[in-house]
């Protein structure tokens, strides 16, 4: 496969995806027949007003929630029918997640938080120690390996969370408003880190954001309005 073909390969694809929340008598159609694809190597943003279904979409793609109808295809394989534990394996080995809340374990140091998913994957100790050190270095925290979360700023903690998402070399990184809790300097660091990862390692990134400024970093924007794709 040449580099061009690789770039054109569809990594993740959704077809006619709907997610309806049932709350008592009321049905909330959070996603309505959404169809699109993300190509390998893309840095895509999902944008739209509050309540338009951005997070819901990300959760379906990231196998954190199950759609009411529709298909999710990853590298040509339908993954919507996997069992819970298969989904967990899939998320552990192929997906990375960064959320608005970084939720690091308070008793673990930065590097321990980071290598936890690698341990879970059954990698050897020297392997995950090396990978953890390396990935924390990549997010600019090479000097903070043994700090506990409470000894770090919000921006630093979020970068630890990013390192945790990257440790198992995922095919795609999902990020839901990763900068919403950060000040503008830290936000800029995070976005530029994403851009660097995307450009230097070819990591595919799908990020929910409502910062219009972020548009200039991404290669593609998916607009949502009331749970449907909106072309702009």
């Amino acid at each position: 496969m040449t580099r061009d073909e690789a770039a054109n390969e569809s990594l993740i694809e959704i077809k006619d995806l709907s997610r309806i929340y049932t709350m008592g008598e009321v049905n909330v159609r959070a996603l309505n027949n959404v169809t699109f694809e993300i190509k390998r190597g893309e840095f895509a943003a999902i944008m739209g007003k509050s309540g338009s279904g951005k997070s819901t979409l990300l959760h379906q793609l990231g196998l954190l929630d199950a759609p009411t109808s529709g298909e999710i295809i990853f590298s040509g394989k339908n993954i919507s029918g996997l069992s819970e534990s298969e989904k967990a394996k899939f998320r552990l080995s192929k997906f990375g997640y960064v959320f608005q809340e970084y939720a690091l374990l308070p008793e673990l140091t930065a590097i321990e938080n980071v290598y936890l998913p690698a341990m879970a994957l059954g990698r050897k100790k020297e392997e995950y120690l090396k990978a953890g050190t390396e990935v924390l270095g990549n997010v600019g925290l090479g000097t903070r390996l043994h700090h506990r979360p409470r000894e770090m700023s919000g921006g630093e903690q979020q970068r630890v969370a990013i390192a945790r998402a990257l440790i198992n070399r995922p095919d795609i990184l999902f990020a839901d408003e990763p900068t919403a809790n950060l000040d503008s300097d830290s936000s800029k660091q995070v976005i530029e880190l994403f851009q660097k990862l995307n450009e230097e390692t070819g990591l595919t990134i799908l990020m929910v954001t409502h910062e219009p400024d972020d548009i200039k970093y991404v290669s593609k924007v998916v607009w949502l309005r009331d749970g449907e794709l909106a072309e702009m």
Partner: protein, 399 residues
Amino acid sequence: MFNNFKLSLFLASKSMMRGNKSTQLLIIFIMSLIFVNLVFIGSIFLGVTEATNKQVINSLYSNVVIEPKKDEKYISDVYSLEQKIKGVPGVVGISSQYVTGATLSYKDKHGTWIVRAINPDDEMKVTTNHNYLIAGNYLSKLDENEILLGKEIAGGYGGDLEYNSLGVKVGDSIDVLFDNGVKKSYRVKGIFDANFIQTNVMAYISRNDMESIVGLEDKASQILVKTQDNGNEDRYIKQFLEMGIKEEIKPWTVYAGMVKNITNSFDMIAMMISAIGLFVAVITIFIIVYTSTISKRKQIGILRAVGIEGSIIIQSYIFQALFIVISGIFIGLIIIFFAIKPWFIEHPLKFPIGLASLLILPEKVSANAVSLIIAALAAGFIPSWLAVRKTIIDTIWGD
């Protein structure tokens, strides 16, 4: 599988090593107290039961009692019966006795007690009462007109039934009116305190003396048989029956009905107290794990989102619960064997049945430990399972 185990152990150990140490020590201390309590209650009751049983054997009935056939007042051909029984391996002593009621009087005081007429040489091989004289001397075979009194009969030695006692000293002369109407004077030769109220209300005279009173020979009201081991009475009784002994043969346990009642009540009480202890242990661990899962709700959700399975998180909490309980048991064992047990050996408890110490049975201690561990498993499992049962979305973002 092994990898999951390693991961949950990692999470558990970090969480304990870097969590709040003083809280953990406190919880471990609570567990050790609960464990000590479980073991202590059971052991003290066992100790009292054991002491009572020993008293019934050592000072009252020995191991096996042979009684007259139904409808007969005495056992006959005692001598040949004794020879037969002596031949059974494991029999270490036989004491044939006459037992009768008698009214004892001294000055204006009198009362009715049981008098056992014994061959002192035989009796010393069967009961231990000769070791518990508090005044005077034990009987000897040829004694006539000499009587040995339990301290409750003699009085003046702090008995529980002083109001009934005669108030006599060694050397005093008392009148004895036997059930068959014969009346004789006796010199108090000795006073004993077997630490057992049922024994301390008896009197002993020599058997030779008695035979002349009742005019009987080679007869007995009961024969006490001492065996070298306790607890195998049924085996000996079977052997006696096989030898063709026609008299009634009973193990000491039939005379210890009172003990059985006490034992049953003790078992009930011990069970209730144990249940409460275990319940407190479950609640304590449950609260610890529950508050931890609540305060770490988002972290747990994110770990699961990242792909770390809920079962690993549950396991890590179970490990923590186990650590707390096992440390508690360990400290509890130290407290029991290095503090409580030596203390009770030094300071046994005084009961009407005598002195009782703790009887700590390894199998009971293990059972207590196992039940506490099972309690911890449940108490660690339930709240963490509740935390992991919710969907990932609810765990991270729900309220």
